[in-house]
């Protein structure tokens, strides 16, 4: 029953520069994880996106949280009840 989600995660992994991807529900349950992102991060990812949303409650759109390091960026976005996280390598400029 999770075939569709799995396929989507696989397609995301095939995108250029993506190192890992994770999908979690509104309670922090990991629905799927691939690549460099560990399943343990599901809870934290969900919570981070929730907290970021509280910064501007009047905004209609959910914010994108970016955790940047020297080599890569972790991007987190919530949509409806699902939180998506993509770990992407930084393109050297």
């Amino acid at each position: 029953m999770e075939k569709e989600l799995d396929k989507h995660l696989e397609e995301t992994m095939n995108t250029h520069g993506v190192l890992g991807t994770l999908c979690a529900d509104q309670h922090g349950l990991c629905l799927g994880a691939k690549g460099s992102v560990s399943t343990d991060a599901a809870g934290m990812v969900t919570r981070l996106s929730e907290l970021a949303g509280q910064l501007d409650p009047s905004s209609e759109e959910d914010p994108i949280v970016c955790i940047e390091s020297d080599a890569s960026t972790l991007m987190i976005k919530k949509h409806d009840d699902v939180t998506m996280a993509i770990h992407k390598a930084k393109v050297p400029t």
Partner: protein, 234 residues
Amino acid sequence: MGCCFSNEEDELLPVSLGYLWGYAKAYMFRVCIEGYQDLFSLCPYEGESKGRSETLLEHTVVVALDLGMWSFKVLEGGRCPHLGLSESTQCDNNNCTATLAFLKYKCDDFANHTPPGPKGDEQSALNRILHQTANNVIDVSAIDHHSMEQHEYMDRARQYSTRIAIVTSSSGGRLKKKTPLPQGTATPQAVLATDPISQADVQLMNKAAAYAASAVSQVRVEHKEDLVVPFGIP
């Protein structure tokens, strides 16, 4: 008003060899009478004695003994030297307490008499409470002020700090908190001045999140076979 004991026929109880105990704040009196080893409790205005009900008339308590009924009467204007009670004894309905507290008849034979039976536990319990309170109460005014000399104070401070250092070092990571966040960059202005994530990445995220949400909404349970299967019983 004095106190004495009398029986149903108003005969005075031979209490010359007995003694009366009271409790400082209690409403009960314990009586021990020579020849009558049982103890019983008197309750000035209510209570039970040995499981028998009492009728309390004003200033009169009827106490049941194994050997018969004895009443504890408060006489007007009298004294009861046998019991060591005097006119100053207050025995009205509500306040038969403090002045009767711990009065003992001066009788050497009974000076240390410990009453037998279950009532003895009350006395020992009282004593225990008394000793406990005495131990627990700290008389601040009685404490003598011991002032330390400077060198002694410094010695102690040094000793305590070395002990603390030993304890904290020996316990190791157990007491330490979790690893704190890394130091981060030395030039935050340089980091903040860099470009934020690219538009391509924003679109990637938006698309990926939307697709993931729709994929999750399509999760369905597929009925493959029954969960409950009847066994074929021949």
